[in-house]
Symmetry: C2
Subunit: 313 residues, 2 copies
């Protein structure tokens, strides 16, 4: 799957992933009305609204980008009905040829991580049959529990030719509280915790190589470009998923350090900035009805921003 | 909810939580056969099997213990159908008067953590209506993203009178890879990361007091009794959820340091050791058909083990 991701980035010229994080406040009124007319102002109504919204955006952008990243929390908040919309979205995006990164940030002890891995990337055995649960292509994983929380995910990735992005340095303001703590190393030097986690990601990924990159990648926030620069060196073969562009404050120029010399090695996420583009002054001219066209325009602008930053580095 | 948990621990005399982590290999054959006869060897068949299994165990133990802890991964692996069994289990246990700790280990940046908090502890707004999604009483939370990943959970706990257990030191063998790293503090001293996280839990919990304990608790594995001793002092007002008893290797004598002098402050989890008791030699006499009676016997033995350890400390 990492080879497919690299290939699709090269084909589209866009190292971009669109975050499908559909909060109801982003969903245009005419779509909400349509869904509520059918199912009422219910969990099912909300699930239908976010599904219709996603579908129209995916149709408008699927030829421009290699990948999407649905954030499962935005679906899980609507209970079972919301998770059905998540499943439908994952499956539709795969049909459209997009690589699907499930932003699930799971992580637990051995047998429990195995259950998550099986449910999201692999197949679960029931008697003589095996079934895919959610069937994403990549998932994000939280490393706090260490190797025996991560290894079951790696095992399933190997079997299913899928991949991971492991949280190293997250994009949020308080990510430094634990991740930036200076840790004493065996050789007497000191390093921030995120760097130790980054080294571990490089180790885990070394035995999991695709053609040019490992299928064990990392998450490093666009909001911390200097740390991105350091982590790029620590994990030369790991793809970096970079959240925090746009609405969270990251800019194209901040991103160049996340890429290798080959112009690869990173994929930048934007969620709100794309899916709710029509709510920004810049794209207001499209109108609420044409929200998906506004999203398409926002993708094209983001693509140009990143390309120009990479050209001028 | 923390007051209710304390009260129920006092009523039952059992600081015990039963982990409802139903792997199919624990589910007796006659139950699997019944479920598959109705729904086939399908995700729905598996979901029915784990639901029937849970229900019989809950009926057998609900008068003995204050709380249960369903591990959502074990349901999520069966996709939507599995999560429906999770929801049914949570709701049934609440009807039976048990406190339900959703072992979900979620954690993300602000708005995303809010969605998880709303979906698992609170209510989500859809138009003019508000709905509970999964409606657990407590959930476990991963702290790697820092305060702005945890605060949205705390906000919902305050509104809904619910609670959290935040991962501090997990029970698995590789938990030390990151959690035990020595971190340099501002005053020049060094402390392991888990202690820094523990201090943060105490801070977060200080403004969230029930009558005697905070509703912001911690997870500390039974497999690390010395660290439990240190962390008990760091977080005197935090309830500690202690996994790792029984099958993972923790013993009653290891547990005493997790409790305060008042005999409270900790609740010990056992999953496999109780729900699959009939598979142990010790309880084999009950037979597979009477698996729930074996679980009841295992709870009574665990209660006696902990009581005797506390009496002899």
């Amino acid at each position: 799957m990492i080879n497919r991701l690299v290939q699709k980035i090269q084909q589209t010229g866009a190292p971009i992933v669109v975050g499908l994080d559909p909060m109801l406040k982003y969903v245009p009124r005419h779509i909400q009305q349509k869904a509520y007319a059918e199912y009422g102002e219910s969990l099912q109504g909300a699930a239908e609204a976010i599904w219709l919204y996603n579908k129209e955006i995916v149709d408008a952008i699927c030829d421009l980008v290699p990948a999407v990243k649905p954030q499962i929390a935005m679906y899980e908040q609507f209970g079972i009905e919301g998770l059905q919309a998540f499943q439908k979205t994952v499956s539709y995006c795969r049909e459209k040829g997009l690589v699907v990164i499930g932003d699930i940030k799971r992580g637990d002890i051995g047998s429990t991580s195995e259950a998550y891995a099986v449910g999201h990337l692999g197949r679960v055995q029931v008697g003589a049959n095996a079934y895919y649960g959610f069937n994403e292509d990549f998932v994000t994983v939280n490393p706090y529990l260490g190797s025996d929380g991560v290894n079951p995910f790696i095992k399933v990735c190997r079997e299913e030719k899928k991949g991971l992005f492991i949280l190293v340095k997250t994009s949020n303001p308080s990510s430094g509280e634990f991740q930036d703590r200076l840790v004493k190393c065996e050789d007497g030097t000191e390093k921030p915790l995120y760097e130790i986690v980054g080294e571990k990601v490089a180790q885990w990924g070394a035995d999991c190589m695709g053609d040019t990159y490992s299928y064990i990648g990392a998450v490093v926030g666009a909001t911390y470009p200097e740390m991105g620069k350091a982590l790029r060196r620590v994990m030369p073969k790991s793809f970096i998923l970079v959240p925090g562009y746009g609405a969270q404050g990251g800019k194209g120029a901040d991103l160049v350090h996340f890429f290798n010399e080959d112009g690869l090695g990173a994929i930048v996420n934007s969620s709100r900035g794309i899916i709710a583009a029509y709510q920004q002054e810049k794209y207001a001219g499209y109108g609420e009805e044409n929200f998906a066209e506004a999203s398409r325009a926002a993708v094209l602008d983001m693509k140009a921003d990143i390309a120009s930053a990479l050209a001028n580095r």
